[in-house]
Symmetry: C2
Subunit: 99 residues, 2 copies
């Protein structure tokens, strides 16, 4: 990230929410899968081999933390990382720990 970007200050609760969202193996895998490209929930379902309601739960946690967003396409939903996911994580970290 360009170090000249000004990070929006976050309150402690919002920071904790970001890290809670990251602190799960399925959710980290979902973020890895979405890192290179947009993927539909059907693709995530196949890749992760996970029960549909458990996948929905993990997608909800990631969405509520502001890390991913979904866009309806027929009976599927296309998921992608939000444009400010990386900055949000940076803002949630103490300054010296921002990679």
């Amino acid at each position: 990230m360009d170090s000249s970007i000004t990070l929006v200050p976050m309150d402690l609760e919002a920071k904790v929410e970001v890290f809670k969202a990251l602190a799960d193996p399925y959710r980290l895998e979902i973020l890895e899968i979405l890192s290179p490209k947009i993927r539909c929930n059907c693709h995530l379902q196949d890749q992760l081999n996970i029960a549909p309601n458990l996948l929905s739960y993990h997608l909800k946690v990631l969405r509520e933390a502001g890390l991913i967003e979904g866009s309806k396409r027929g009976r599927w939903i296309d998921y992608s990382l939000t444009s400010d996911a990386a900055e949000m994580i940076a803002a949630a970290l103490p300054e010296r720990l921002r990679p």
Copy 2:
């Protein structure tokens, strides 16, 4: 962080451990306090106004995740961020989310 640094690959379990360690308001505050300088447990105790055994627990979680280290000085322990804490967090994040 210099983008030329090669990050050591981590397994999924270790990545989750890093984010679990970050996903707590007390632990984020401890990392903020240790960001500018080394601090003894007595200082952390005063700053956070927290029960000693709860502070010990949070310090243990951060130590076990590899984010902080302690060095005994008489009856106190001086805590500091580990030199590779920032790189460890970067390595735990999906590539596009590394700030």
